[in-house]
């Protein structure tokens, strides 16, 4: 990505509510399970949303929310030697081979 594209993506990202991963332990559950993500402006907000969206307001459940950008993740098990030096982001960003349309047909 060019520097220009990177900075416009960054400023666009600042306008977006951060992404939070949601972990829920059900009433009878033994551990928190990852159920998905949502956008919220802060952690309290994220907890409230998670309650609405992922637990349908069941009682007795425990909810954890973590900003996606805070999560450090391990390499996939296999072929780690083939894998690029890891970013510590959970989601690998796509590297589309983009060409500007002025370049013409390729």
């Amino acid at each position: 990505m060019s520097a220009d594209q990177k900075s416009s993506t960054a400023s666009a990202a600042l306008k977006e509510w951060p992404l939070w991963e949601v972990f829920v332990r059900s009433k009878q559950g033994l551990e928190h399970k990852h159920c998905g993500s949502l956008h919220a402006s802060d952690s309290q907000h994220a907890l409230q949303m998670a309650r609405d969206v992922y637990t349908r307001r069941q009682e007795g459940v425990s909810i954890w929310v973590v900003q996606s950008s805070s999560i450090a993740a391990s390499e996939p098990n296999d072929k780690s030697e083939f894998f690029e030096p890891s970013s510590d982001k959970v989601y690998r960003h796509p590297t589309f081979y983009e060409i500007p349309s002025e370049v013409g047909h390729m």
Partner: protein
């Protein structure tokens, strides 16, 4: 709820400065590493394994999934509008509550799906921008109007019914987050269909006006629901690759046939007539034969010329734009709080 089991190409992007998935993807010459990764990926697909967010995947697989999952999510959100149209006029408190809950579930499904799509490296804002500018599609079944209360029941019975047929195979899709989102969705979806059917059953046992309402709704929605499964297999080139990647499991025609066969007896129980004179049991095939779908009308609607396209998209764009100040306020407040906390900690 969702449908379209075929990939509609994105609208062409004429704006050079926007990095966009619709720009041409140039296949680079593959290195030895790439070849090995591709082979490993293929083997995993063949063994019915799951691909997870941090795994290597071909760019075309990633792009196809971003498009399919995000369009699925958009469909759930836009789908809130035709049924939401009747919340304020639901004829009993029980029906009102059920309908609000159903529409809310659809919002929730959209959220699960946006969440799954974001694992592939796109963002909510990017996906919504694609929807609002017309680059991304949503299921065109939602471009039709809900004209009487029975439409709500018929949408539950037929549209959700068709969506379930599409969605159950997706629970075994090769991409982990999508499959898991679909399992969640499917658990909730069958309840929606039963609710729709039950509402219709009550009406069909009711007054003459209620019965007429139901038959009118069925007459308007039946053919549209058949078209939901997408064009005939012969006209669906993307299906082959989708199947190769474990994203698409069953063909359009096969799903459509399953739907017809399942629905005919349900219609009998209701006592409604499905508006197809060619619909009849074929003993030899052990399936129902059915008539010709109007694909011209289908494509006209998909391409923007259905009865409600502009209104649906207009509503979504307005909600997003009108809500900008709200989203900005929440962020500004969060930043202020963060600054305060830093100061206090210092």
């Amino acid at each position: 709820m969702y449908t379209q089991s075929f990939n509609v190409p994105d609208a062409p992007d004429t704006n050079n400065s926007t990095p966009n998935a619709a720009l041409k993807s140039v296949p680079k010459a593959l290195s030895e590493t790439d070849i090995a990764l591709q082979a490993q990926f293929d083997a995993r697909i063949d063994a019915d394994g799951k691909v997870e967010p941090r795994d290597w995947m071909p760019d075309a697989y990633r792009k196809t999934l971003v498009r399919q999952i995000s369009q699925h999510a958009h469909s759930e959100i836009v789908g809130m509008l035709p049924e939401g149209n009747w919340i304020s006029r639901a004829p009993s408190l029980k029906r009102k509550a059920i309908l609000i809950a159903k529409v809310q579930d659809e919002g929730g499904h959209g959220l699960y799906l946006y969440s799954a799509a974001e694992t592939l490296g796109t963002s909510r804002d990017q996906m919504l921008d694609a929807l609002h500018t017309g680059k991304a599609k949503y299921s065109s079944i939602f471009n039709y109007p809900t004209l009487n209360w029975a439409d709500v029941g018929v949408v539950g019975w037929l549209v959700d019914g068709a969506a379930i047929m599409n969605q159950i195979p997706l629970c075994r899709c090769s991409y982990g987050p999508y499959a898991r989102a679909m399992i969640r969705v499917c658990k909730e979806e069958s309840f929606h269909q039963r609710q729709g059917f039950e509402a219709l059953l009550v009406m069909m046992q009711g007054t003459a006006e209620q019965k007429a309402m139901v038959q009118d709704a069925v007459n308007r929605w039946w053919w549209k629901c058949l078209a939901m499964f997408g064009p005939p297999d012969a006209d669906s080139p993307n299906s082959v690759q989708g199947m190769r990647w474990g994203i698409k499991r069953i063909s359009n025609d096969d799903l459509r046939q399953k739907f017809v066969d399942a629905t005919v007896p349900q219609a009998k129980i209701l006592g409604v007539t499905l508006p197809d004179p060619d619909l009849k049991w074929n003993e030899e095939r052990q399936h129902h034969d059915y008539g010709q779908i109007d694909w011209d009308e289908f494509w006209a609607t998909v391409n923007g010329n259905g009865p409600c396209n502009k209104e649906r998209l207009g509503a979504r764009v307005k909600a997003w734009n009108d809500g900008q100040w709200v989203r900005d306020a929440a962020l500004a407040h969060a930043n202020k709080q963060a600054q305060k906390n830093l100061k206090e900690a210092a």
